[in-house]
Subunit: 397 residues, 2 copies
C-alpha cells in the first residue's frame, strides 16, 4: 500500500526548487539571458579537459570488465588508497585506505555519517544558516536535528546559543565550512573553540560526540583566506567531501567520508557505512568515475570565476549600503534583506527578474542567498537590475 509519509512529502516543495522553476518559466517568456537567476548552486565552469581526456583514455585502454566491474562495497581499494595519500599530503593527516568510504556525493556522505554515529532519538546539532537538506538527512535516520541560531555578525559560530543546545542526547554536530549559504569559512579560532567545547562535553557526558564536517566547497577558497581542515583539530571527526563543485561533475555522484584515524573505531566507520548502503540498496558510486577521479586528484576546474563574480556582487551590495559579510569561498553570498520579511523582499525582486532565495529556508530569516555560479557577463548585467529593484522598492540608491 502506498506510503502516506512519502506521498505527503510531495506537497512540501523546496523553496529553492520553486524559485528555480519560476525562473525557468520566466525564461520562456523573456529569454533566459534576461532572467537573473541566482537561485541554484550548480557549478558553472567547464569540467577540466584533463578529466575528460582521462575518461576517454580509460575507455580506450582498460579492460571493460575491470573498468565497469563491481567496486567493493567500501569503494575501489586502490582509489581509497590514493584519496588517503592525497589527504595526507595536502592536510598533514595519517589516513589509510581503511579510513575512506566512497559515497554518492557529499549528500550520501553526510547521510551515511549520521547513521554511523547516531541512533533514533539522538540529537544532532547544526548551525544556522544551513543547507535545508540536512533536515532530511537527519530526520530520516530517526535522529533529531537541533539548530543553533546564526551569528549574524560574522556567520561564525554563536557559541552562547550552541552551549544552550548541548545536552547528553547530543551525539553529533554537523558543520559546513566553507558555508552554504553564507559563503563564510570558519576561522581556525572558531574550529579550535568548537573542538575544545566538544572535548569538554564528551568528558562531561561520558560518551563520544562526533563532528561531521560537510566540505563540498573545500576547494573554492578566495585569495588570502585561511581555510583550516576541520579534522585536524578534533579526533572524533568525519570529513565529508564531494567532487561535484571542484571538478564540476555534480551529476556523476562521487564523494567520500574520511574518518579521522584517531576517532573511536576509526577503521570500523567505513565497513559500517557499507552495511548502511546494503540496507538502502545503493552500494557504491560509479566505478569509472572513481577510477578517473583518482587519477586526477588535486586537479580542479577553473574556479577563479567565482571570486570574480563575488567581488562584483559584494562591491555593489556594499555601495548600496547592504549589511553583508564578505564570503571567503563557495559561490554564495548572504546579505541582509532590506525589509524584515525576506520572503516578501525576494518576491518583489522577481518583478525585476532577479531570482533570490529567502534566508528562511536556511534557518535564517531576514537574509537572502545569491548563488553566483553563473557567467560573469550576466552577473555584471544583473547589477543594474539590482540597483533598480532597491531604488524603486526601497528608495536605496
Amino acid at each position: 500500500m502506498i506510503s502516506q509519509k512519502y506521498k505527503e512529502m510531495l506537497s512540501a516543495k523546496s523553496v529553492i526548487r520553486q524559485m528555480s522553476e519560476w525562473a525557468v518559466g520566466r525564461a520562456k517568456e523573456i529569454g533566459s539571458e534576461n532572467v537573473f537567476d541566482f537561485s541554484l548552486g550548480n557549478p558553472s565552469v567547464a569540467v577540466p579537459q584533463a578529466f575528460t581526456d582521462k575518461m576517454i583514455a580509460l575507455l580506450q585502454e582498460r579492460d571493460t570488465m575491470e573498468l565497469h566491474g563491481y567496486s567493493q562495497s567500501q569503494g575501489i581499494p586502490s582509489v581509497r588508497l590514493k584519496f588517503a595519500e592525497f589527504l595526507n599530503r595536502t592536510y598533514g593527516m595519517d589516513y589509510t585506505a581503511e579510513h575512506l568510504f566512497m559515497t554518492t556525493g557529499a549528500a550520501g556522505a553526510v547521510a551515511h555519517a549520521i547513521r554511523a554515529v547516531t541512533q533514533p532519538g539522538d540529537e544532532v546539532i547544526t548551525f544556522a544558516p544551513f543547507f535545508p537538506e540536512y533536515n532530511h538527512y537527519v530526520n530520516q535516520t530517526g535522529a533529531v536535528l537541533k539548530v543553533v541560531p546564526a551569528d549574524t555578525k560574522q556567520f561564525q559560530i554563536h557559541f552562547e546559543e550552541f552551549e544552550k543546545l548541548l545536552n547528553p542526547k547530543t551525539m553529533a554536530v554537523l558543520v559546513n565550512t566553507p558555508n552554504n549559504p553564507s559563503g563564510i569559512v570558519y576561522s581556525t579560532e572558531t574550529i579550535k573553540k568548537l573542538a575544545q567545547l566538544l572535548e569538554a562535553k564528551q568528558k562531561e557526558y561520558g560518551h563520544d560526540i562526533f563532528l561531521i564536517s560537510d566540505e563540498p566547497y573545500r576547494d573554492i577558497i578566495f585569495g588570502g583566506v585561511e581555510a583550516p581542515y576541520v579534522s585536524k583539530y578534533y579526533d572524533n571527526s568525519l570529513s565529508c567531501y564531494s567532487f561535484a563543485k571542484s571538478l564540476s561533475i555534480p551529476g556523476e555522484r562521487l564523494g567520500y567520508i574520511a574518518a579521522n584515524p584517531n576517532c573511536t573505531d576509526s577503521t570500523l566507520i567505513s565497513p559500517m557505512c557499507a552495511q548502511i548502503s546494503r540496507g538502502i540498496g545503493h552500494n557504491c558510486p560509479p566505478s569509472i568515475i572513481q577510477i578517473a577521479v583518482a587519477e586526477v586528484l588535486g586537479l580542479t576546474s577553473e574556479l577563479s570565476v567565482y571570486e570574480t563574480n563575488m567581488n562584483i556582487i559584494y562591491d555593489t551590495l556594499v555601495q548600496l549600503g547592504f549589511e553583508v559579510v564578505k564570503p571567503g569561498g563557495t559561490f554564495y553570498i548572504f546579505p541582509r534583506a532590506l525589509e524584515k520579511d525576506s520572503v516578501a523582499f525576494c518576491k518583489k525582486a522577481m518583478n525585476y527578474d532577479l531570482v533570490l532565495v529567502p534566508g528562511d529556508t536556511f534557518g535564517c530569516p531576514g537574509y537572502f542567498r545569491m548563488a553566483y555560479c553563473i557567467e560573469t557577463e550576466k552577473v555584471e548585467r544583473a547589477m543594474p537590475a539590482l540597483r533598480k529593484f532597491v531604488a524603486q522598492e526601497y528608495g536605496v540608491r
Copy 2:
C-alpha cells in the same frame, strides 16, 4: 556515538562473500586458474564495443556541463522518456516518462520500491530460494520479510504455502524472475495465478498489495524459454531493472523502477522515490551513464556464453544423477546437494577447489548454487573436479 546496530552487522558476514574470500586466498596458493570459483554473480562477458564508443563520443562531443551536470532527482527527463518508449515497444506497455524513476542498480530500485509501498510493521512476502540481500532491503525500512518455502519440484511458486502467509498486513510481494539462485523463469501460468490471487486478496483486505518484480536477469533467457513480463499481468506492479548484467556494467550502478501505468498513484511513485532518495542522500545514478545507456537501449553484451556454460554443467549434473531443474535463464543453477547438510556438502567441495554456495543462504537448505559466469574453458575443466569430488565423497560416478 558509534551506532551499535551497524557495528554488530559487521560480524555477520555474507556467506557468499566468505566463500569468495576463501577462493581468493586459495588462488594465491595454487593459481587462480586452478580454483573453480562458482561463488560470485559477476558478469563475465565484455561490455559491448558500441557502449564504449558511445561513452567516448559523448565525452568528445557534448558540452561537459550538460554531460556531467545534476540530473533531476527522478532521473534525466529525456532518458526516462527513452526507457518508457523502449519498454512500450518491447513489452506492449503504456509507460510515460512519469512512470520511470532512475536508480543505482536493481538494489536501489527494490529498496526504494519497498519504501514507497510499505510502512514500518507491514509485511512483505517473497519466495525461497531468494537473494539474501532482500533481508536488508526490507528490514531497514521497518517492514518485515516473510518467506514462502520453495517449490523444490519446479522452483515456480508454492501457492499452498503462499496462501498460508498472506494476511491483512501483507502490503507487498517481491518476486525475482529469472531467479537468483535457481535460474528458473516463472511461467505465464505462475504469474497469472499469482496475479489472480493478489487481486482477490486486495478485495478481501480492502487495500492495495503491490507486486515488486526484481528483474536484473530479464535479458538472460535461454533458447526456447518463454519469459513473460510480470507487469503485463497485474496492475499494481513495480518493475525493477538493472543494466548490470545485460551490459556487463555492474559498477556503474544504473537501473530503474517502472510503475505500471494502471497502478494506484502511478505517476506519484517516481516523485515519491525522489523524496526517499533525499533522506538517504544518494540522489540519482551517474549522469553520463544514464545518457550513454539511453542511446544504446536494446543492446546487450554477448550473453550466449551463459547458456553454453549452463548446458555443460547441467548435462554433467544429470549424468551424475543430481536432482536439478534446468535453468531458463540467468547464470545460476541450483541442484540438490548429495547430503542433507548442504553447508557440509559445500565444505567438502572446497577440498577439490570447487567453490559452491550452500542453499541455506537463499532460504533453501539442502541445495547449492553454482554461478557459471566464468569462462567456458574453465567450466569444462571444472567438470572433472566435480566428478572426482562426488566420486570420492559420495561414491557417485
